[in-house]
Symmetry: C2
Subunit: 144 residues, 2 copies
Amino acid sequence: MSRTTLDTAALAHDLRLAVMRFSRRLRNQRVDHSVTLTHLAALSTLKRNGPMSPGELAAQERVQPPSMTRVVVALEGMGLVTRTPHPTDGRQVIIDLTQTAEDLLTEEARAREAWLSGQLQSLTPEERTVLREAAEIMEKLAGG
Amino acid sequence: MSRTTLDTAALAHDLRLAVMRFSRRLRNQRVDHSVTLTHLAALSTLKRNGPMSPGELAAQERVQPPSMTRVVVALEGMGLVTRTPHPTDGRQVIIDLTQTAEDLLTEEARAREAWLSGQLQSLTPEERTVLREAAEIMEKLAGG
DNA sequence: TATTGTTATACTCTATAACTATA
DNA sequence: TATAGTTATAGAGTATAACAATA
Protein backbone atom coordinates (compact mmCIF):
# COMPACT_ATOMS: atom_id res chain seq x y z
CA MET A 1 0.00 0.00 0.00
CA SER A 2 1.32 3.43 -0.92
CA ARG A 3 1.81 6.24 1.52
CA THR A 4 -1.14 8.11 0.05
CA THR A 5 -3.38 5.08 0.33
CA LEU A 6 -2.50 4.63 3.99
CA ASP A 7 -3.11 8.30 4.71
CA THR A 8 -6.43 8.14 2.91
CA ALA A 9 -7.55 5.13 4.94
CA ALA A 10 -6.69 6.95 8.15
CA LEU A 11 -8.52 10.05 6.95
CA ALA A 12 -11.58 7.99 6.04
CA HIS A 13 -11.58 6.56 9.55
CA ASP A 14 -11.14 9.86 11.35
CA LEU A 15 -13.54 11.75 9.11
CA ARG A 16 -16.28 9.16 9.59
CA LEU A 17 -16.05 9.35 13.39
CA ALA A 18 -15.86 13.14 13.37
CA VAL A 19 -18.90 13.54 11.14
CA MET A 20 -20.96 11.08 13.19
CA ARG A 21 -20.16 12.76 16.48
CA PHE A 22 -20.61 16.23 15.11
CA SER A 23 -23.99 15.41 13.56
CA ARG A 24 -25.16 13.85 16.86
CA ARG A 25 -24.15 17.02 18.60
CA LEU A 26 -26.05 19.13 16.09
CA ARG A 27 -29.21 17.03 16.48
CA ASN A 28 -29.06 17.23 20.24
CA GLN A 29 -28.67 20.96 20.17
CA ARG A 30 -32.35 21.38 19.35
CA VAL A 31 -34.22 23.77 21.57
CA ASP A 32 -37.63 24.04 19.92
CA HIS A 33 -38.69 20.40 19.68
CA SER A 34 -41.70 20.94 17.45
CA VAL A 35 -39.64 21.09 14.28
CA THR A 36 -36.87 18.53 13.95
CA LEU A 37 -33.56 18.94 12.22
CA THR A 38 -34.70 16.80 9.31
CA HIS A 39 -37.81 18.96 8.88
CA LEU A 40 -35.74 22.08 9.06
CA ALA A 41 -33.31 20.79 6.46
CA ALA A 42 -36.17 20.16 4.04
CA LEU A 43 -37.61 23.62 4.67
CA SER A 44 -34.18 25.19 4.15
CA THR A 45 -33.81 23.46 0.81
CA LEU A 46 -37.25 24.67 -0.30
CA LYS A 47 -36.35 28.16 0.82
CA ARG A 48 -33.09 28.09 -1.07
CA ASN A 49 -34.13 26.31 -4.25
CA GLY A 50 -37.82 27.15 -4.50
CA PRO A 51 -40.93 24.93 -4.83
CA MET A 52 -40.32 21.41 -6.09
CA SER A 53 -41.79 17.91 -6.17
CA PRO A 54 -41.37 15.44 -3.28
CA GLY A 55 -39.14 13.29 -5.45
CA GLU A 56 -36.83 16.16 -6.26
CA LEU A 57 -36.71 17.17 -2.61
CA ALA A 58 -35.86 13.60 -1.62
CA ALA A 59 -33.04 13.54 -4.16
CA GLN A 60 -31.62 16.82 -2.91
CA GLU A 61 -31.71 15.64 0.69
CA ARG A 62 -30.27 12.24 -0.23
CA VAL A 63 -33.18 10.27 1.22
CA GLN A 64 -35.60 7.82 -0.37
CA PRO A 65 -39.01 9.10 -1.58
CA PRO A 66 -41.05 7.39 1.18
CA SER A 67 -38.88 9.07 3.80
CA MET A 68 -39.61 12.44 2.25
CA THR A 69 -43.32 11.66 2.09
CA ARG A 70 -43.34 11.36 5.86
CA VAL A 71 -41.50 14.62 6.27
CA VAL A 72 -43.85 16.42 3.88
CA VAL A 73 -46.95 14.99 5.59
CA ALA A 74 -45.67 16.20 8.94
CA LEU A 75 -44.80 19.63 7.60
CA GLU A 76 -48.19 19.96 5.91
CA GLY A 77 -49.86 19.00 9.18
CA MET A 78 -48.00 21.81 10.88
CA GLY A 79 -49.06 24.26 8.18
CA LEU A 80 -45.49 24.77 7.00
CA VAL A 81 -45.84 23.56 3.42
CA THR A 82 -48.61 23.25 0.86
CA ARG A 83 -49.14 20.50 -1.69
CA THR A 84 -50.59 21.63 -4.99
CA PRO A 85 -51.10 19.51 -8.13
CA HIS A 86 -48.64 19.95 -10.97
CA PRO A 87 -50.27 22.02 -13.76
CA THR A 88 -49.67 19.52 -16.55
CA ASP A 89 -48.52 16.24 -14.98
CA GLY A 90 -51.26 14.78 -12.82
CA ARG A 91 -48.86 12.42 -11.07
CA GLN A 92 -46.71 15.17 -9.66
CA VAL A 93 -47.19 17.44 -6.71
CA ILE A 94 -45.51 20.73 -5.97
CA ILE A 95 -44.36 21.43 -2.42
CA ASP A 96 -44.08 25.05 -1.39
CA LEU A 97 -43.41 26.95 1.81
CA THR A 98 -46.16 28.82 3.64
CA GLN A 99 -45.65 32.25 5.15
CA THR A 100 -45.55 30.54 8.56
CA ALA A 101 -42.57 28.53 7.39
CA GLU A 102 -40.85 31.63 6.04
CA ASP A 103 -41.26 33.28 9.41
CA LEU A 104 -40.08 30.16 11.19
CA LEU A 105 -36.95 29.98 9.06
CA THR A 106 -36.15 33.59 9.81
CA GLU A 107 -36.54 32.84 13.50
CA GLU A 108 -34.52 29.65 13.23
CA ALA A 109 -31.70 31.42 11.47
CA ARG A 110 -31.36 33.35 14.70
CA ALA A 111 -32.38 30.85 17.36
CA ARG A 112 -31.66 27.30 16.31
CA GLU A 113 -28.34 27.95 14.71
CA ALA A 114 -27.30 30.08 17.64
CA TRP A 115 -25.27 27.34 19.23
CA LEU A 116 -23.39 26.44 16.08
CA SER A 117 -22.92 30.06 15.09
CA GLY A 118 -21.56 30.79 18.53
CA GLN A 119 -19.17 27.89 18.31
CA LEU A 120 -18.03 29.03 14.89
CA GLN A 121 -17.48 32.57 16.13
CA SER A 122 -15.02 31.20 18.66
CA LEU A 123 -12.90 29.67 15.91
CA THR A 124 -10.13 31.47 14.09
CA PRO A 125 -10.87 32.88 10.62
CA GLU A 126 -8.55 30.21 9.21
CA GLU A 127 -10.55 27.44 10.88
CA ARG A 128 -13.77 28.85 9.48
CA THR A 129 -12.23 28.88 6.03
CA VAL A 130 -11.35 25.21 6.44
CA LEU A 131 -14.93 24.38 7.42
CA ARG A 132 -16.36 26.41 4.56
CA GLU A 133 -14.21 24.51 2.08
CA ALA A 134 -14.93 21.23 3.83
CA ALA A 135 -18.68 21.84 3.60
CA GLU A 136 -18.37 22.14 -0.17
CA ILE A 137 -16.28 19.00 -0.43
CA MET A 138 -18.68 17.02 1.76
CA GLU A 139 -21.63 18.14 -0.37
CA LYS A 140 -19.72 16.95 -3.40
CA LEU A 141 -19.01 13.59 -1.77
CA ALA A 142 -22.61 13.24 -0.58
CA GLY A 143 -23.91 13.82 -4.06
CA GLY A 144 -21.34 11.90 -6.07
CA MET B 1 -24.82 42.60 12.37
CA SER B 2 -21.15 42.61 11.41
CA ARG B 3 -19.80 41.09 8.26
CA THR B 4 -18.21 38.26 10.24
CA THR B 5 -21.47 37.51 12.01
CA LEU B 6 -23.31 37.29 8.72
CA ASP B 7 -20.67 35.02 7.23
CA THR B 8 -20.75 32.82 10.29
CA ALA B 9 -24.52 32.45 10.08
CA ALA B 10 -24.26 31.41 6.44
CA LEU B 11 -21.48 28.99 7.29
CA ALA B 12 -23.53 27.49 10.12
CA HIS B 13 -26.39 26.94 7.68
CA ASP B 14 -24.28 25.39 4.93
CA LEU B 15 -22.20 23.29 7.28
CA ARG B 16 -25.28 21.85 8.98
CA LEU B 17 -26.82 20.75 5.69
CA ALA B 18 -23.52 19.39 4.39
CA VAL B 19 -22.86 17.34 7.53
CA MET B 20 -26.42 15.94 7.58
CA ARG B 21 -26.32 14.86 3.95
CA PHE B 22 -22.82 13.49 4.19
CA SER B 23 -23.60 11.45 7.31
CA ARG B 24 -26.73 10.03 5.64
CA ARG B 25 -24.60 9.02 2.71
CA LEU B 26 -22.09 7.35 5.01
CA ARG B 27 -24.80 5.40 6.82
CA ASN B 28 -26.35 4.23 3.59
CA GLN B 29 -23.04 3.07 2.24
CA ARG B 30 -23.15 0.01 4.47
CA VAL B 31 -22.59 -3.27 2.69
CA ASP B 32 -22.35 -5.80 5.51
CA HIS B 33 -25.57 -5.21 7.41
CA SER B 34 -24.73 -7.29 10.45
CA VAL B 35 -22.71 -4.55 12.11
CA THR B 36 -24.12 -1.04 11.90
CA LEU B 37 -22.19 2.19 11.66
CA THR B 38 -22.98 3.03 15.28
CA HIS B 39 -21.65 -0.36 16.40
CA LEU B 40 -18.57 0.07 14.29
CA ALA B 41 -17.91 3.51 15.73
CA ALA B 42 -18.00 2.13 19.26
CA LEU B 43 -15.66 -0.72 18.32
CA SER B 44 -13.28 1.72 16.65
CA THR B 45 -13.14 3.84 19.77
CA LEU B 46 -12.38 0.79 21.91
CA LYS B 47 -9.70 -0.25 19.46
CA ARG B 48 -8.13 3.18 19.50
CA ASN B 49 -8.43 4.05 23.19
CA GLY B 50 -8.46 0.64 24.84
CA PRO B 51 -10.92 -0.98 27.29
CA MET B 52 -13.20 1.40 29.16
CA SER B 53 -16.51 1.61 31.02
CA PRO B 54 -19.85 2.04 29.22
CA GLY B 55 -20.16 5.54 30.65
CA GLU B 56 -16.80 6.59 29.31
CA LEU B 57 -17.59 5.07 25.94
CA ALA B 58 -20.92 6.94 25.85
CA ALA B 59 -19.14 10.20 26.63
CA GLN B 60 -16.58 9.65 23.89
CA GLU B 61 -19.28 8.87 21.35
CA ARG B 62 -21.43 11.80 22.52
CA VAL B 63 -24.45 9.65 23.31
CA GLN B 64 -26.39 9.13 26.54
CA PRO B 65 -25.51 6.11 28.74
CA PRO B 66 -28.73 4.16 28.00
CA SER B 67 -28.02 4.44 24.29
CA MET B 68 -24.59 2.97 24.81
CA THR B 69 -26.03 0.20 26.96
CA ARG B 70 -28.06 -0.94 23.97
CA VAL B 71 -25.04 -0.86 21.71
CA VAL B 72 -22.93 -2.82 24.19
CA VAL B 73 -25.66 -5.42 24.71
CA ALA B 74 -25.90 -5.92 20.96
CA LEU B 75 -22.13 -6.16 20.56
CA GLU B 76 -21.85 -8.63 23.44
CA GLY B 77 -24.59 -10.72 21.84
CA MET B 78 -22.54 -10.85 18.67
CA GLY B 79 -19.45 -11.87 20.60
CA LEU B 80 -17.62 -8.68 19.74
CA VAL B 81 -17.07 -7.29 23.24
CA THR B 82 -16.79 -8.68 26.75
CA ARG B 83 -18.08 -7.15 29.97
CA THR B 84 -15.92 -7.78 33.02
CA PRO B 85 -16.39 -6.31 36.51
CA HIS B 86 -14.11 -3.46 37.53
CA PRO B 87 -11.42 -4.79 39.93
CA THR B 88 -12.09 -2.30 42.72
CA ASP B 89 -15.36 -0.48 41.93
CA GLY B 90 -18.26 -2.91 41.93
CA ARG B 91 -20.53 -0.48 40.11
CA GLN B 92 -18.36 -0.27 37.05
CA VAL B 93 -17.90 -2.62 34.14
CA ILE B 94 -15.05 -2.77 31.69
CA ILE B 95 -15.83 -3.25 28.03
CA ASP B 96 -13.14 -4.83 25.89
CA LEU B 97 -12.85 -6.10 22.33
CA THR B 98 -12.74 -9.80 21.54
CA GLN B 99 -10.38 -11.29 18.97
CA THR B 100 -13.39 -11.60 16.66
CA ALA B 101 -13.88 -7.84 16.85
CA GLU B 102 -10.20 -7.21 16.19
CA ASP B 103 -10.43 -9.34 13.07
CA LEU B 104 -13.65 -7.63 12.05
CA LEU B 105 -12.10 -4.20 12.38
CA THR B 106 -9.16 -5.24 10.26
CA GLU B 107 -11.58 -6.46 7.62
CA GLU B 108 -13.73 -3.35 7.91
CA ALA B 109 -10.74 -1.10 7.48
CA ARG B 110 -10.49 -2.64 4.06
CA ALA B 111 -14.07 -3.32 3.11
CA ARG B 112 -16.46 -0.93 4.76
CA GLU B 113 -14.41 2.19 4.33
CA ALA B 114 -13.74 1.29 0.73
CA TRP B 115 -16.35 3.64 -0.61
CA LEU B 116 -15.19 6.62 1.41
CA SER B 117 -11.54 5.87 0.82
CA GLY B 118 -12.20 5.60 -2.87
CA GLN B 119 -14.01 8.91 -2.87
CA LEU B 120 -11.17 10.52 -0.96
CA GLN B 121 -8.60 9.13 -3.37
CA SER B 122 -10.38 10.97 -6.16
CA LEU B 123 -9.91 14.30 -4.39
CA THR B 124 -6.89 16.52 -4.74
CA PRO B 125 -4.25 16.42 -1.99
CA GLU B 126 -5.33 19.94 -1.06
CA GLU B 127 -8.93 18.84 -0.60
CA ARG B 128 -7.83 15.95 1.58
CA THR B 129 -5.84 18.37 3.70
CA VAL B 130 -8.97 20.50 4.14
CA LEU B 131 -10.97 17.47 5.27
CA ARG B 132 -8.23 16.34 7.63
CA GLU B 133 -8.20 19.74 9.30
CA ALA B 134 -12.00 19.93 9.25
CA ALA B 135 -12.23 16.53 10.99
CA GLU B 136 -10.14 17.90 13.85
CA ILE B 137 -12.22 21.05 14.11
CA MET B 138 -15.50 19.10 14.06
CA GLU B 139 -14.24 16.81 16.81
CA LYS B 140 -13.40 19.89 18.82
CA LEU B 141 -16.86 21.36 18.23
CA ALA B 142 -18.56 18.05 19.01
CA GLY B 143 -16.77 17.85 22.32
CA GLY B 144 -16.89 21.45 23.37
C1' DT C 1 -26.26 11.00 49.16
C1' DA C 2 -23.84 10.48 44.75
C1' DT C 3 -22.41 7.63 40.98
C1' DT C 4 -22.71 3.79 37.55
C1' DG C 5 -25.25 1.16 34.94
C1' DT C 6 -29.58 -0.82 33.33
C1' DT C 7 -34.58 -1.28 32.18
C1' DA C 8 -38.74 0.60 30.38
C1' DT C 9 -40.71 3.35 27.13
C1' DA C 10 -41.22 6.32 23.30
C1' DC C 11 -40.02 9.13 19.44
C1' DT C 12 -37.23 10.30 15.20
C1' DC C 13 -35.21 8.90 11.04
C1' DT C 14 -34.77 6.03 7.36
C1' DA C 15 -35.36 2.04 4.39
C1' DT C 16 -37.62 -1.67 1.25
C1' DA C 17 -41.73 -3.60 -0.73
C1' DA C 18 -46.12 -3.19 -2.44
C1' DC C 19 -49.84 -0.35 -4.13
C1' DT C 20 -52.36 3.56 -6.79
C1' DA C 21 -52.80 6.88 -10.21
C1' DT C 22 -51.23 9.05 -14.22
C1' DA C 23 -48.31 9.35 -18.51
C1' DT D 1 -44.86 -0.07 -19.44
C1' DA D 2 -42.76 3.54 -16.89
C1' DT D 3 -42.94 7.18 -13.52
C1' DA D 4 -44.46 9.84 -9.21
C1' DG D 5 -46.17 9.42 -5.07
C1' DT D 6 -48.03 7.06 -1.11
C1' DT D 7 -49.03 3.38 2.32
C1' DA D 8 -47.53 -0.40 5.08
C1' DT D 9 -44.12 -2.22 7.68
C1' DA D 10 -39.80 -2.65 9.97
C1' DG D 11 -35.41 -1.64 11.94
C1' DA D 12 -31.71 1.54 13.64
C1' DG D 13 -30.63 5.14 16.65
C1' DT D 14 -31.34 7.97 20.32
C1' DA D 15 -33.52 10.15 24.38
C1' DT D 16 -35.73 10.80 29.15
C1' DA D 17 -37.40 8.81 33.39
C1' DA D 18 -37.24 5.50 36.81
C1' DC D 19 -34.79 1.87 39.10
C1' DA D 20 -30.98 -1.07 41.32
C1' DA D 21 -26.52 -1.66 43.10
C1' DT D 22 -22.45 0.13 44.95
C1' DA D 23 -19.45 3.85 46.90
